[in-house]
Symmetry: C2
DNA sequence: TAGATTGTTAATCGATTAACAATC
DNA sequence: TAGATTGTTAATCGATTAACAATC
């Protein structure tokens, strides 16, 4: 089997496919690319191309077997396997857990929070909060691969470096800091303000594009 | 002056530029594209191209006058002007206000929350919560242009349509529903789970790209 | 002047879409 | 068979980058 190119855009679309396909009633045995595309507002060809990368189950005239496609996407996304995560900046742990319920249910398990100077034996719900000096040993002991950074400003990069030194290979940056990471580390930044601003500006942008 | 093309990507980068430039000390009178690019991990040419669209202040050998550039970007983004918003699904109002502090401080002002059947005279902080049947008259009275949808599932599209009927031109969808809107309406969806999933999958995606 | 920087035009790259053959 | 659908190859589109002239 040849290697197919996997883009980050694909990685964003696959969960959408999965969610939609799962939402269909069990009575839908087959599902076509055209239907998925229409439901999600995408092009049918793109859907087919995407699905061809994760599944070989497409059948002419019928489409994809729904359950098989679900399984293929899940296997590809490794939704079944769980990655272990910790969160730095325990004050935001609550909120992250609430907001990211979806992703946490799927494949990320937050084992612990870390904070500069927590009161002894603090917990957030069932999740324990530790002092930063336990970071390294904890990550090693529990094979943590995901670090969630919620503390703002200059500290963020320093924390990020420490996490990478702990063999964390995925940084999820929920602060407004700009982080740099080595190539082998995956960084995703969801700045509270940043990417939302397009929302603010829409009318002007649209107007400019119309005139252009 | 010719019309320059404005892409959504530009709209995402400008706020990043703005944030970075603002973070510089007042002693930095000039700022160069190369410096901005390095700080944000982007290409210098792209930064220049972007800035050329919103400012004409670049000076050879020196760069851009920092304060003038800040002003130009702000004017372009209309950060100064405030858009009026309402939120549907008042149970999440708290959380949205906390999470989106950045954007709310900048240019979106949430006037009210709406819910199916709120207790009389409910408020969330200082923000009043109204019943859905007041939606239309409220939007008209206050010239609301942004609708924030936090309720999940099938109701979301229905609410969306109602908002559009109220002359709302920007929908910010924080639910997991897939919404469709007419061309003149700006839709931004931040599904809790969806776009974050790439995070989960990084190791495999990277591996595949390496072999490709 | 020489060097640093901008801004623009052309080239490259990647992603999406169109066209179409293959299949059931 | 005819029609519906997949999957692939080629074309298009848009965004980024490279090259370079212009400027101070």
């Amino acid at each position: 089997m040849e290697i197919k190119k996997i883009s980050k855009k694909l990685m964003k679309r696959l969960p959408l496919y999965l969610e939609y396909i799962k939402s269909l009633p069990d009575s839908a045995v087959y599902i076509s690319s055209a239907k998925i595309a229409a439901a999600l507002g995408l092009g049918a060809v793109m859907v087919r191309k995407d699905l061809a990368k994760v599944s070989d189950g497409g059948r002419c005239k019928l489409g994809y077997i729904r359950t098989a496609l679900i399984r293929d996407i899940e296997v590809f996304l490794e939704v079944t396997s769980t990655r272990r995560a910790i969160l730095i900046g325990a004050g935001n742990l609550d909120r992250v857990i609430t907001d990211c319920a979806g992703i946490l249910q799927q494949g990320i398990h937050i084992l612990a929070g870390f904070d500069m100077d927590p009161a002894p034996e603090t917990t957030c719900g069932e999740i324990p909060i530790y002092a930063m000096n336990k970071l390294f040993s904890f990550c090693q002991a529990y094979n943590v691969s995901v670090g969630i950074i919620t503390i703002p400003g200059e500290d963020a990069q320093r924390i990020c470096n420490r996490l990478i030194a702990c063999d964390v290979d995925t940084i999820w940056n929920l602060s407004n800091a700009h982080l740099t990471v080595p190539d082998h580390v995956c960084l995703r930044t969801d700045s509270p303000a940043g990417p939302l601003t397009p929302l603010l500006v829409h009318p002007k942008a649209e107007a400019a594009q119309r005139t252009a």
